[in-house]
């Protein structure tokens, strides 16, 4: 396999890992005010992702920086084309990242409400906009012969891009619900279970629409490919399992659903990187946008060493904090009312999902 193909695959994997991991963070961010009513419950909900969200977000930077290093042309065209969308993504990432750290640091209802809103809105906005951006890679944007974007912000809001964005939001919601169900107990867990069902149905409708639309956009066969089929099946499994006590399997299914959905975009894209709606001759491809052989060789060695290493220590971090998060007993409670954790079937921790 040629080096630029290896790097295309690696970048696709980085995006998949990012959205599978940060996907449940987004879901928890969007859902935490719904599944948790009291301040304590909200803290429980947020602490399910507390030790991990920062490490999960790293994969976005890894994906972006890898595009810069391996396909400078792709990075340059995509990031300048998505300019205002990425400004919004950055504002949301900033507000959200700071919210996690700052929220509990002052005892004031208004302070907390402000950061709660930041978390919720940002967790919605980021997957929506990134979904639009990823959809546009395949759906096509006006790009000229020197690989420069010639449109404006509204050219980004294509039908296919929007549908991809909304689908990704729905998948993150479902993923967040299965994650919360896996990571909490009692009331919060029950509310997550109740939410997972309707979210599952919505996600099924959206993913089927996404696959049909992708078939039209990508050209080729009308029959969905194996990965697209897997996305639909995984969403169906996640929706079905969400109401059972198979917390681990439900979470696994929603993780597979996101991975297959994002993976299918990149599979349909290859060997292109961005489609030009102006002229097919102006498409960006792995061969016309890649770095030189030497640079790619160096980066391959770096990736071979560090990708598994990061996976190992992140996997260990998932393992360390695998236990369900539970509120401390209220001051008046007898300390001995520890209810046993609900029975779980299947993988009980997301540890294996760090790739």
């Amino acid at each position: 396999m040629e080096l630029h193909t290896i790097w295309f695959v690696l970048i696709a994997i980085f995006w998949v890992v990012f959205l599978v991991l940060e996907g449940f963070d987004f879901g928890v961010g969007m859902l935490h005010t719904i599944v948790a009513k009291t301040d304590t419950e909200r803290r429980v909900a947020l602490n399910t992702i507390g030790p991990w969200w920062d490490g999960n977000e790293v994969w976005l930077v890894i994906a972006g920086a890898s595009m810069f290093a391996a396909f400078p042309g792709w990075y340059a065209t995509m990031f300048s084309a998505l300019y205002l969308a990425l400004v919004l993504v950055l504002l949301a990432l900033m507000a959200r990242g700071v919210a996690f750290e700052f929220k509990g640091k002052r005892d004031s209802a208004r302070w907390r409400t402000t950061w709660t809103w930041c978390t919720t809105l940002a967790s919605l906005l980021i997957p929506l906009l990134l979904g639009i951006g990823l959809g546009d890679l395949l759906g096509g944007l006006p790009i000229d012969s020197s690989h420069e974007f010639t449109g404006n912000f509204f050219n980004l809001l294509t039908g296919y891009g929007l549908w991809t964005g909304v689908t990704l939001v729905a998948l993150c919601l479902l993923h967040g619900a299965t994650f919360l169900k896996l990571r909490t107990t009692d009331q919060v867990r029950e509310r997550a279970r109740a939410l997972a069902r309707p979210l599952g149905w919505a996600a099924i409708a959206l993913i089927i629409g996404f696959v049909i639309w992708t078939r039209k956009v990508a050209g080729g066969a009308d029959v969905p490919g194996p990965v697209e089929a897997l996305a639909v099946i995984a969403v169906a499994f996640a929706a079905r399992l969400a109401s059972t006590d198979h917390d681990g399997w439900a979470f696994t299914a929603s993780a597979v659903a996101i991975a297959a959905t994002i993976g299918s975009i990149f599979i349909d894209l290859y060997p292109h990187l961005m489609i030009s709606t102006t002229n097919t001759a102006y498409d960006l491809s792995v061969s016309n946008s890649a770095s030189g052989h030497y640079a790619l060789t160096v980066m391959t060695i770096v990736a071979v060493i560090f990708f598994p290493l990061v996976a190992i220590y992140q996997g260990w971090s998932f393992h360390v904090f695998r236990a369900r998060v539970k509120a401390p007993p209220a001051p008046g409670d007898a300390p001995a009312t520890l209810a046993p954790a609900p029975p779980t079937v299947g993988p009980s921790a997301p540890a294996g999902l760090s790739e």
Binding site: V58, F68, Y75, G292, Q314, R324
Partner: protein, 467 residues
């Protein structure tokens, strides 16, 4: 106009980002030292101090990390022509940074925050060291990338006239990088220790927890003193190296328009800009510039007018002289404040020797104000480095004027610039408020978290239920 705006945005966002970076690097190292001390001596006081300064560290990391995301995206968003042109060389160190350093720092930070009482003590200690190491490693890759813009090495021009990496080792042995990286690390230690010293001094003045904060005041000084003294030497050496590879940068920093030999150092002057090339030098020290720039008593320094002519011959017509006012004063602000801090640190060292550090009213009061200086010095240092490279974005290879994104309009950049400035002001206010609040808090009791739910079985209660 678009180019100007993109430059304003990059300057604003990177200067702001670098207010937080050195605090993170310096404080992470100091917190790791505190926790190591606790690990060794078992004194609960050190554990409380570790947690206290750990909280200050986290408040800073939050803003440092999110503003770093902007930097990472900005090359593609605002500088797509640059990214397309240099990505082959410049993208590598950034990708290495994300995989090798940023991931390490972020993952182990999460483990450290939530790992109190859940991880074995030794492993938990290793986590904070990995955070400190990761943040220093991050700076290494970023500085390697930046140094390549100052002094491009390890590349060949391909058939399209674009630089292509052909020797990655050269990026990391670039003399500009080696000295620049040490310079940044020492600046971070100076910044972190001055923050720790200021907080400790505030408590000592109030007479609260005197014993505990006496420890941290001493620790801060023990890091500060060698760091600032070595820094003066390293900064000087970096100046010599820049004088070799970027003579315009140093000549501009001295507002030296004509050739000279031997050269006197202008310590304070009025005028000296492009239209006023014979400034009134209020204080001039004979031979000092020769010594600083060349390391010899009578060394020659080329003037800007001669350098301009040489550059015109090499690169064609154009203005190759950066803004001299910024160069001259950022250099002096950095060097003068650095000297003051060195004296201040020596004063502190002498007080430690006398054993009166915790009672010296003057020193403690000065410490509260000294904490402002590293932020001014760090900003001045980057202004000197980056402004001094202009008009180039990559010295000798690409001009800044050609580097911005052709597809991004000035309206786009206005929107983003206003949005970033607004959110940065809000984040800065929140950060400052929290730093002041938590810096003045009393040390928390020695919360016994050693046995609450060892990793594993059943449900664990949440740590630090702050609300």
């Amino acid at each position: 106009m678009t180019n100007e705006l993109a430059r304003w945005q990059f300057a604003t966002t990177s200067i702001y980002h670098f207010l937080f970076v050195p605090v993170t690097i310096g404080l992470a190292f100091l917190v790791a030292l505190l926790q190591t001390a606790w690990h060794r001596n078992g004194e609960p006081e050190y554990k409380r101090l570790t947690k206290f300064f750990g909280t200050l560290l986290l408040i800073n990391v939050a803003v440092g990390v999110v503003t770093g995301l902007v930097q990472e995206f900005e090359f593609g968003m605002n500088w797509s022509a640059y990214a397309r042109f240099v990505g082959d060389v410049f993208g590598g160190p950034l990708a290495m940074e994300s995989l090798a350093a940023f991931a390490l720092e972020s993952t182990f930070l999460g483990l450290w925050i939530f790992g109190w009482g859940r991880l074995p003590k030794r492993v938990h200690l290793a986590c904070i060291w990995l955070v400190a190491f990761g943040s220093m490693l991050s700076a290494l890759f970023i500085l390697a990338a930046n140094s390549w813009m100052q002094h491009p090495v390890g590349y060949v021009l391909n058939s399209h006239g674009q630089p292509e990496l052909n020797n990655v080792w050269a990026l990391f042995t670039n003399p500009t990088f080696l000295w620049g990286y040490v310079h940044v690390l020492l600046a971070s230690l100076v910044t972190g220790s001055l923050v720790m010293l200021a907080v400790s001094a505030w408590h000592l003045r109030k007479g609260r927890e005197v014993q505990a904060f006496h420890h941290t005041a001493q620790l801060a000084l023990l890091v500060l003193l060698p760091a600032i003294l070595v820094q003066m030497f390293v900064g000087n050496k970096l100046g010599e190296i820049e004088a070799t590879y970027q003579p315009v940068k140093i000549a501009a920093a001295e507002a030296q328009w004509e050739n000279c030999q031997p050269c006197s150092f202008s310590a304070f002057q009025v005028g000296g800009g492009k239209n006023d090339q014979t400034p009134t030098q209020l204080i001039a020290i004979p031979h000092l510039l020769s010594v600083l720039a060349t390391g010899t008593f009578n060394g020659p320094v080329e003037g800007l007018n001669q350098l301009q002519k040489e550059d015109e011959r090499k690169y064609g017509p154009g203005n190759y002289i950066p803004n001299v006012f910024i160069q001259y004063w950022s250099m002096r602000v950095m060097a003068y404040l650095g000297s003051l801090i060195a004296l201040f640190a020596l004063f502190g060292g002498w007080l430690i020797h006398k054993g009166t550090l915790d009672r010296s009213k003057w020193f403690l009061r000065l410490s509260l104000w000294a904490v402002v200086t590293p932020f001014v010095m760090n900003t001045a240092g980057w202004l000197l480095t980056e402004n001094g490279r202009q008009p180039w974005i990559v010295q000798g290879l690409m001009k800044t004027i050609n580097a911005n994104s052709p597809s991004v309009t000035s309206t786009d950049i206005w929107i983003s610039l206003v949005a970033f400035v607004a959110i940065y002001i809000a984040l800065g206010a929140a950060d400052l408020a929290l730093m002041l609040r938590y810096g003045r808090k009393e040390l928390e009791g020695d919360g016994d978290d050693s046995e609450s739910g060892a990793a594993g079985s059943g449900a664990t209660t949440i740590p630090a239920l702050t609300y």
